[in-house]
């Protein structure tokens, strides 16, 4: 659907480059803005200040440091699996970003089972973490990997159920159409805001964000890493380049999940169409939205990942069994109720 007709290889190249940028750029910004700066400010300090103006080049310095370090593998480790694990985790991030729409025509792929694909692919990282934990030949890693597996499976479910509400309301599983729906709909005939599902699906949004926090193993749910208990969980034995990949994957996934949350609940790349008099039915959305869309998306993503990080820096962590109890006894029943309610309202109106 691009305006210029490119050969297949050029399109593929563009997509690969775009995907890399879409994964690495948010990761870098999140690390600098939130991990380096916001956390420091919340702790009465300034954070890195030496590398570049206000420490903005610090990340490059850190990457340089990690790349110089030796790529170690423990003696007893299952070497091939051990080396592969971080890549598996990172691959899941790349696969996730493929389905996120950034504008009316600016997307990597657009297919009808987008939501389904997204939920399926996000579990691949679990596999990578389990591989890392088991192959490290380290007791802490093993415990961390097992915890991670249990936790990610437990929180996959509320996430699916939370998204289900959105799918019922939108009537489609295509992420692009979910965005269009949100921006062209109206709430009880008033279309000043469109219908971002955060308003009608607030419970779903809250559950989704909690589940994301757990999927990302960010602080109230960071037992797989739990540096005071398990040293560094499944990452204990990793160093240098492979640790860097884990690190990038952690923050890139935070960014991608924020993107998905903004697509599902905040109206994605769009602004309410009624502001500009666009008509969704004829698809008459201006071409410049393809440029403005990514910027709008990134803004929404920054807000959401800011909240994720803010919670991370403020809270202590749960215990493993409390976390499971919270998932199965609170989140899942509530999200089931939410689905029922949505379905009833959907039929009623």
């Amino acid at each position: 659907m691009l305006a210029v007709d490119l050969p297949y290889w050029a399109q593929s190249l563009l997509r690969v480059l775009g995907g890399t940028v879409a994964v690495l750029l948010p990761a870098g910004t999140i690390v600098y803005l939130f991990l380096f700066k916001m956390m420091s400010f919340m702790q009465s300090r300034l954070g890195p200040m030496e590398a570049g103006p206000y420490g903005s080049m610090q990340l490059f310095a850190e990457v340089g440091k990690w790349l110089q370090k030796e790529d170690l593998a423990p003696d007893g480790a299952d070497k091939r699996i051990y080396r592969m694990a971080p890549l598996v985790v990172l691959v899941s991030t790349f696969l996730l970003v493929a389905v996120v729409p950034f504008g009316p025509d600016a997307y990597f792929t657009n297919f009808d089972a987008g939501v389904f694909y997204m939920l399926a692919v996000s579990s691949i990282s679990t596999l990578g973490i389990l591989m890392a934990g088991w192959s490290s030949a380290n007791k802490y890693s093993l415990l961390g990997g097992l915890r991670a597996a249990g936790q990610l499976i437990a929180y996959e479910l509320p996430m699916v159920l939370a998204v289900l509400g959105v799918v019922i309301q939108a009537g489609t599983m295509n992420l692009q159409q979910i965005v269009v729906k949100q921006n062209s709909d109206s709430i009880f005939g008033w279309d000043g805001l469109g219908n971002p599902y955060i308003l009608t699906q607030f419970i779903g949004f809250a559950i989704f964000m909690i589940a994301v926090q757990a999927e990302l193993t960010q602080t109230p749910f960071d037992m797989p890493i739990a540096e005071s208990e398990l040293v560094s969980g499944y990452m204990t034995e990793y160093s240098g380049f492979r640790f860097l990949i884990f690190f990038i994957a952690e923050f890139a996934t935070a960014g991608v999940f924020s993107l998905i949350a903004s697509v599902l609940f905040l109206g994605g790349w769009g602004v309410p169409f009624s502001w500009f008099g666009w008509d969704a039915a004829t698809g008459s959305v201006d071409n410049w939205m393809n440029v403005a869309g990514p910027i709008i998306m990134i803004t929404k993503m920054m807000v959401l990942s800011g909240i994720i990080m803010w919670v991370r820096f403020s809270y202590p962590r749960f215990r493993e069994d409390q976390l499971q109890r919270f998932a199965w006894k609170v989140l899942i029943p509530v999200s089931l109720l939410n689905i029922m309610l949505t379905a009833i309202l959907k039929v009623a109106f």
Partner: protein, 390 residues
């Protein structure tokens, strides 16, 4: 309380059952996990050997001594003034508090008493080192439970206290300020006004900790009902300090014995908590930090004037005899049994440090808990490695 004690008993029985079950039912083996000697949760080099069934602890034992420095032996070849420089390093976070009982024991042998102003300043510095010590504990607690921010806040406000200690004594960590018969020097001008401001900041810090950590539902669910130590067990294992008071035993050496310190001149409260769980231990420490700031404020207002040094000979020889003095240090009861043969230095010194006895309860209290609770219980028992290994 009985409810919590029952729960502890039940988990103990469960652990025993799990231990028996391990090899029988599933033909599985328990996993032995070394927490330490190099582990983020042990604040140094304490090693705790735990046997796990899944994530449940079946058996645990602390193994101390990785940092043993032989202080009791070293004191035998040091003169009395040199020993204070040494014992500073036992509990390195509240170092001034280590000097006081030793000096008091030596003074007891020499039958002299420091002048009132020196007693006042001693008590103030004693409480300041308690604040520096326990304040850091409050932040460190957050780290053990996975919250990163509280520890930076603790370091931020502890810095003010350390500046005060440095301003008065010259040493941030190791003041070496206490002398037999008094103090090395009087306070510098402007110190009292500064201290009052810092005490206000610290009360503010305590409120912040209450909001950020103690009021947090996750924090409470992590600590409430975990690691319950009933009062009888606590007494049997010789716990002291906040760990004992959290089990509901109203016992505080600052109030319960009369030493030449100014505690009986001020109005303050000994906090106790009936529960005996990890939360109670942390909560007691928070309240005590706030209480300490109030004690310091009152002492500053009522400070008498006068000399800070009693008449002592220039070369100190302590007469023959034996003396035992213990005080309520930040970590618990710390005492010195000093034997002197009339020489320049002590003949033998027995050091009773609080942490060594406090961690002796670890095998009892860790049975049947989960690995994350191991960390929170260790954090709430609050030990300092130098204080265990001496």
């Amino acid at each position: 309380m009985t409810d919590l004690a029952d729960r502890q008993k039940l988990s103990y029985i469960a652990a025993q059952a799990a231990d028996a079950r391990l090899n029988v039912e599933l033909e599985t083996e328990g996993m032995t996990l070394n927490i330490g000697p190099q582990h983020p949760a042990t604040h140094g080099t304490l090693r705790i050997i735990v046997r796990l069934d899944g994530e449940q602890v079946v058996w645990a034992e602390p193994s101390a001594g990785y940092m043993h420095r032989g202080y009791e032996k070293l004191t035998e070849v040091r003169t009395f003034p040199q020993v204070t420089a040494l014992v500073n390093r036992i509990d390195w976070l509240g170092s001034f508090a280590n000097e006081v009982p030793f000096i008091l024991a030596a003074e007891k042998l020499m039958e002299i008493e420091a002048p009132p102003r020196a007693q006042w300043i001693r008590t103030i510095l004693f409480e300041l080192s308690r604040i520096a010590n326990v304040g850091l504990f409050l932040g460190d607690l957050g780290v053990q439970l996975g919250a990163v921010t509280p520890v930076f806040m603790a370091f931020r406000d502890r810095e003010h206290v350390l500046n005060l200690i440095e301003g008065a004594t010259g040493g941030r960590f190791h003041p070496n300020f206490d002398r037999i018969g008094g103090l090395k020097d009087d306070l510098p001008a402007g110190w009292i006004a500064e201290t009052k401001q810092v005490m206000k900041k610290l009360r503010n810090f305590c409120t912040e900790m209450e909001d950020l950590l103690f009021g947090n539902e996750i924090f409470q669910s992590r600590l409430r009902g975990i690691g319950v130590i009933p009062a009888e067990v606590a007494k049997q294992y010789g716990l002291s300090g906040a760990n004992l008071r959290a089990s509901g035993v109203d016992w505080d050496l600052r109030r319960d014995q009369s030493l030449p310190l100014a505690y009986d001149k001020v109005d303050w409260k000994v906090w106790t908590h009936p529960d005996g769980d990890s939360f109670a231990r942390c909560w007691i420490r928070l309240q005590e930090t706030r209480e300490s700031t109030l004690i310091v404020d009152q002492l500053l207002d009522t400070m008498p004037s006068g000399p800070i040094m009693a008449k002592v000979p220039r070369i100190i020889k302590v007469p023959e005899g034996e003396a035992w003095v213990s005080t309520e240090n930040p970590l618990g009861e710390m005492g010195y049994y000093v034997v002197s043969k009339g020489d320049l230095g002590p003949f033998r010194v027995k050091i009773r440090s609080a942490s060594f006895n406090n961690i002796s309860i670890v095998p009892w209290v860790l049975r049947g808990v989960y690995v994350p609770d191991v960390i929170s219980i260790l954090a709430s028992l609050y030990f300092i490695l130098g204080d265990i290994d001496r």
